[in-house]
């Protein structure tokens, strides 16, 4: 289906990636997992509706968990 230029999905959410790039540059010690989750959140529920306190608490807990870098998973031996 061809979409018009004004369609919602055409906004491309470029502001999210540029915002996160700037944030990464300013906070080099923050784990990548935090930015990955923020990207998903900003393209999804964070931009769509006001989050309830319960949702905010859950998201905050996840982000705090992401601040600890996870060790790379060992490669599977074949």
């Amino acid at each position: 289906m061809v979409k018009g230029p004004e369609s919602k999905s055409d906004s491309g959410d470029q502001w999210v990636s540029s915002l996160l790039e700037a944030a990464k540059k300013d906070n080099p010690m923050v784990a990548d997992g935090v930015f990955a989750r923020l990207e998903i959140l900003l393209e999804g529920q964070l931009s769509e509706r006001d989050l309830t306190p319960t949702n905010l608490k859950a998201v905050a807990t996840q982000l705090i968990g992401d601040t600890v870098p996870k060790p790379p998973e060992p490669e599977e031996t074949q």
């Binding site: 061809v2 979409k3 004004e6 900003l42 931009s47 769509e48 905050a60």
Partner: protein, 511 residues
């Protein structure tokens, strides 16, 4: 995609087929009230909102809204319909059934339902509200027009999320702890950089952990250094261990910490006391106010605005007053106890600051007070010879020359006071005997002293509250030296320290 024309047939206020061709930059539609001007905007909103028109919600709820779509003057046999023609000549048709439900067809390439409503529709009442709105509301109204509504929602959510993260992670408490750590670092290391601190840790590691040389010097080595120091202290005699412990306690910055706790407590009291007093006065006023009503009356809750019985409100006010008074009482008790703890700590600190304890806290100064003997001064240390006696009742076991080029902590100079020279001698003895504890060094020095003087010093040690084992050994040593003096053993000058006024009367080599 631009709309080329909108055609309405018996839709809302449109009495008959009418069309509008907004194929221009701006256009004015005028007509009498109820002639159907707003129906064009309604038609656009109907398609964008999937069959909903916002302003109809006030009159029709839910599915009843469909009743408001067909024009009430629609003659029988005619149909309610909408048609949108786009710039590429594709068309979107919406046909309405008799019951008001609709079916769309055509314009498959144009997903008009996905258009951003705020970027497409601005109603006249919204324009009017915008003019009279505050700056903040104008900002919020403009954002959707620029397609920035998502950003506004995201910004608000991020602001709340930031607070939530701060609460969940306990950041404010951690910031306070960090400030404390920073102040402790400044206290211990001053303005030293991290590299300088790491270097100092490396030096300490080399000094205390010689057995396992570190490949990479880092701050985590501090734990090993701490363990090595602990082990070394365990090897000391009980007296020396007590001394180390007392010295450590005496050097704690209790005064500063007590002052900080007291200042924080005062700050807390200054901020909380007025709040509690203010709330109590509000509750007392509320209590007076509510007591003027009969029990049968009701009153509007000042918090939620609901109408509640006077009795319930009175009970609530009394309960809150009691809770607040309990809080005030508990807080006053807390202040008193904190003050008590601070006073006790201050008293402990002042005891440690007493001159007697200070003297005993420094073993070198204590020894200097005990043994004001004259040691030879001047000359070069490598020419000196010290007697290394591990046991006070043994004769000379061997003579240890100070290694040439050995580091000298404190080199004695001519004209130094006797105590100062004793300290220098002790430093040198410690270098010759790196593994020796403090007591053998005392004894080594004691051998250089007159036995009568040692006996006097033993008496002084009793008065100073020194552990009784020390004066007992000194007396024993004095007796030993007197017996040796009476035996008139031959004196060997080669063993004496050059320049000593009182020379030991021991034979060398041992029999």
């Amino acid at each position: 995609m631009r709309i080329k024309s909108i055609e309405l047939a018996w839709f809302r206020g449109a009495a008959g087929p009418v069309s509008l061709e907004p194929n221009c930059n701006s256009m004015v539609v005028y007509g009498e009230n109820g002639s159907g001007k707003s129906s064009f905007v309604d038609a656009v909103e109907y398609v964008l909102n999937g069959g909903g028109i916002e302003h109809l919600k006030t009159e029709y709820s839910g599915s009843h809204q469909v009743k408001a779509i067909p024009n009430t003057h629609k003659p029988g046999g005619s149909k309610t319909a909408l048609r949108f023609v786009f710039k590429d000549d594709s068309e979107l048709d919406v046909d309405f059934n008799e019951n008001g439900s609709s079916k769309s067809s055509g314009a498959e390439g144009i997903a008009m339902g996905e258009w951003e409503y705020r970027q497409t529709v601005l109603r006249q009442n919204e324009v009017s509200e915008f003019i009279h709105d505050t700056k903040g509301k104008k900002y919020s109204a403009l954002l959707p027009l620029f397609g920035l509504h998502k950003m506004e929602v995201a910004a608000e959510n991020l602001r709340k999320l930031s607070k939530s993260v701060e609460t969940e992670a306990g950041l404010s408490e951690k910031r306070i702890k960090l400030e404390l750590v920073a102040s402790q670092r400044e206290e211990v290391f001053g303005t030293q950089s991290l590299d300088q601190i790491v270097k100092a840790v490396g030096d300490l590691y080399g000094q205390y952990c010689e057995e396992s040389p570190a490949k990479d010097i880092q701050l985590s080595l501090s734990n090993e250094i701490g363990s090595a120091i602990e082990n070394r202290i365990k090897g000391y005699s009980a007296d020396n261990q007590r001394h180390v412990f007392l010295k450590e306690v005496a050097e704690l910055n209790l005064q500063g910490r007590v002052d900080a706790v007291r200042a924080s407590s005062v700050d807390l009291a200054e901020s909380l006391d007025p709040q509690i007093a203010e709330k109590l006065s509000v509750l007392q006023s509320a209590s007076t106010f509510v007591n003027s009503f009969d029990d049968t009356e009701t009153v509007d809750c000042p918090a939620c605005g609901r109408e509640i019985p006077v009795e319930a409100f009175r009970e609530h006010v009394n309960l809150e007053s009691e809770r607040l008074q309990e809080t005030q009482k508990a807080f006053n008790l807390y202040k008193a106890r904190i003050g008590d703890v601070c006073d006790t700590l201050r008293s402990i600190k002042s005891n440690f600051d007493k001159p007697d304890l200070k003297t005993s806290a420094d073993p070198l100064q204590l020894v200097a007070a005990w043994f004001p003997v004259d040691l030879p001064v001047g000359g070069k240390v490598e020419h000196w010879k010290f007697v290394d006696i591990r046991h006070p009742y043994e004769r000379y076991r061997h003579v240890s020359p100070v290694p040439a080029g050995a580091p000298v902590l404190l080199q004695p100079q001519l004209g130094d006071p006797p105590g100062h020279r004793v300290l220098a001698a002790l430093s040198l003895i410690d270098q010759v005997e790196p593994t020796a504890s403090l007591t053998p060094s005392h004894e080594s020095l004691a051998r250089l002293a007159d036995p009568d003087h040692v006996a006097t010093v033993a008496g002084e040690a009793d008065c100073l509250g020194i552990p009784p084992s020390v004066p007992a050994r000194l007396r024993s040593f004095a007796r030993f030296k007197r017996r040796r003096r009476q035996a008139s053993r031959p004196y060997t000058p080669g063993l004496a320290l050059p320049g000593l006024t009182r020379l030991p009367s021991f034979a060398y080599p041992p029999p």
